[in-house]
């Protein structure tokens, strides 16, 4: 999985464009889509070994595991490869009492990191939402130039944007172009 990202990075780095925002493709984490009834919050929190966030946009972390609440019954779980096996085992154990769906979507998305004081401005070239409403430590599923993405804000000037693999060249091209435009003051 790492090699995939590295190869893509090589291809895409060839844009030759740079700007005030540092853009890079992140090595792929293990990524899972979780759907379950939030009424089972306690059991789900137990299996994840953290307090399952139930407010849309909220996140929780523990021991290398990160969970973002995307919808009333939907979460995305990030971890590393070993963490994924542990999570899957823990969920297999509660499957009898807590019906759920836990799907490995590691390869579905590629994450872009945006770092720099102009990161919010750069994202606003494609995102229709008021990005200042996403506070650090929160996230949201939204759009970037008609492509559905999951946006995570890790700091005032630090974002991660997860894009479905086949849309990446489009999004990456736009981000780099807009970044260059910010650089030259267009």
């Amino acid at each position: 999985m790492m090699t995939n990202a590295a190869t893509l990075q090589d291809c895409l780095a060839a844009t030759g464009l740079s700007g005030p925002v540092e853009l890079r493709l992140l090595p792929e984490p293990a990524r899972m889509a979780l759907r379950a009834d939030p009424a089972h919050g306690n059991a789900l929190s137990g299996a994840l070994r953290l307090e399952l966030p139930t407010k849309i946009g909220d996140r929780a972390n523990n021991d290398g595991l990160e969970v973002l609440c995307l919808g009333p019954d939907e979460w995305v779980v990030h971890t590393d490869g070993e963490g994924m096996a542990a999570v899957q085992a823990a969920f297999a154990e509660i499957y009898g009492e807590v019906p759920h769906s836990l799907v490995d979507i590691s390869d579905r998305d590629i994450a872009i990191e945006l770092r720099g004081a102009a990161a919010e401005t750069l994202l606003s070239t494609g995102c229709p939402i008021d990005l200042s409403r996403i506070r650090p430590g929160h996230g949201k599923r939204t759009l970037f130039d008609s492509v559905q993405v999951v946006l995570l804000r890790d700091g005032e000037d630090l974002f991660r944007m997860e894009v479905w693999r086949s849309f990446l060249p489009h999004v990456w091209g736009l981000l780099n172009t807009a970044n260059r435009e910010l650089e030259v003051g267009l």
């Binding site: 849309i56 946009g57 995307l70 919808g71 009333p72 939907e74 229709p128 939402i129 409403r133 949201k140 599923r141 939204t142 759009l143 008609s146 559905q148």
Partner: protein
């Protein structure tokens, strides 16, 4: 661009994140086999086509993914109210109050 309040996210967000999903509060017949052709046609295709206040479904596709209901004025495009799927249709009196 319209701004729409998602009752699940509890945020007011741009229309681009949503899709329209037809008229709301149309219950699927319990037993379609008892329907004749006209009644089935009406269920499938015949809609209110309101001029003014319209009850309609929307889906927050590029957000939380949920379907919900809305009351929108088709003349002014103003949203009076959005509420979660499964909640009862608001009464005229309640809507009058909101329209003030």
């Amino acid at each position: 661009m319209l701004l729409i309040h998602c009752p699940y996210c509890d945020e007011t967000l741009p229309e681009a994140e949503f899709v329209y999903a037809g008229e709301a509060h149309i219950a699927r017949p319990e037993d379609p086999s008892t329907y004749d052709d006209e009644a089935w046609r009406d269920f499938l295709f015949i809609r209110t086509n309101a001029r003014g206040r319209h009850f309609e479904r929307w889906r927050h596709t590029h957000g939380c993914g949920r379907f919900f209901n809305a009351v929108r004025d088709t003349v002014s495009d103003r949203f009076l109210l959005t509420y979660r799927a499964g909640e009862p249709r608001p009464s005229d009196a309640e809507l009058e109050e909101l329209a003030k």
